[in-house]
């Protein structure tokens, strides 16, 4: 068979392709359980972070959105956690929000995924910024550049106003989602 014949070329590429696909399917089989476990773990951690004292979590679907209802040891519903996503400065930001529906209050928030600038926007994952939302009532928030003096104010991260405002908007739209799903306002 001639070295540069069409047949030789096709056979070479096909063989390499088949071997590669075969090897990768093994790698995929091997790593997928770990990758899924990592994601589940991350989500579980985030739910525990945003809902206090929860021992059992139930996954519910309402209006096409997924909510995680957290129950305490006595079977009382403590609150609901859910994710909300939106655009940030560099890419999509995914936020886990834990809310108390009885008092229309946020418990806490946690950032699941983001691509913000390291050292600037990435500080949305820091405690200092996230605590802005601790125990805030539902509603529209104002992003301010000084330490918050009253309710509904969120202090922006210095040098990362866009990231701060994005997270605030993502949370506001998430709250709309949860109140409409749970027939909020009462």
């Amino acid at each position: 068979m001639e070295k540069n014949s069409k047949k030789a070329m096709i056979i070479t590429l096909a063989t390499i392709g088949i071997i590669s696909a075969l090897l990768l399917s093994f790698v995929y089989e091997w790593t997928t359980p770990y990758i899924q476990a990592n994601q589940a773990q991350k989500q579980k951690q985030a739910i525990n972070e945003v809902l206090p004292g929860v021992v059992e979590v139930k996954k519910v679907e309402k209006n096409g959105n997924i909510f995680y209802e957290g129950y305490d040891a006595n079977g009382n519903r403590v609150g609901v956690a859910f994710t909300s996503t939106g655009g940030g400065y560099n890419g999509v930001i995914e936020v886990m929000i834990g809310v108390n529906l009885e008092q229309n209050q946020i418990y806490k928030i946690s950032i699941l995924n983001h691509q913000e600038t390291p050292g600037l926007g990435a500080r949305i994952t820091g405690k200092e910024f996230k605590s802005n939302f601790n125990n805030q009532p539902f509603g529209n928030y104002n992003v301010v550049k000084t330490p918050p003096s009253k309710e509904m104010q969120v202090q922006a991260i210095a040098g990362a106003t866009i990231s701060s405002e994005s997270v605030t908007e993502i949370i506001e739209s998430g709250l709309d989602k949860v109140t409409s799903a749970y027939g909020g306002g009462n």
Partner: protein, 202 residues
Amino acid sequence: MALDLKEMFSDFKNGLWAENPIIRLVIGMCPTLAVTNTTENGLAMGLATSFVLISSEIVISLIKKLIPANVRIPSYILIIATFVTFVDYFLKAFYPGIAESLSIFVPLIVVNCLILGRQEAFASQHSTPRAIADGVGMGLGFTWVLVLLGAIREFFGMGSIFGLTLLGEWYRPMVIMVLPAGAFITLGILVGIMNYISREGK
């Protein structure tokens, strides 16, 4: 086949300085500039690229006689892509933190011209032991520059190295250093210094 150790050592040394991929050949700039905002990212990127480079140099030097010249580039890309996908899954499964911070730049190792360049320029024309020496040398050469870049940028941009805070609260971080502009500035200065050093040596 006798192993010529002296030859292998010179292939290895080549990548570290004389033909260092970043400061001499100036290839593989995309990951160099994009992920070196912290020392850890630089190291992870360097090691991931080195793994792909060495593995594909081994495979290609072994099967170089079987590949028809007309389809050698697509064959190399297929082999490289296989190793890159492996690294991508591996990092996601066992080092999710690193996988997250490198994000899209792991799959993009496929198109790092350093890797394809070495296959074409070296692995396809030399024996497997020499290809390994070249891969290790080039990989380490790529890695040490990425780590240095990452360290400089993290030090000035965040006051820390490998996430360890070295400069106290009094230090106001030069934010530009962790932004893309800081990558260009640092790389430019670094290449300048390296050129100066090798000119002095002559």
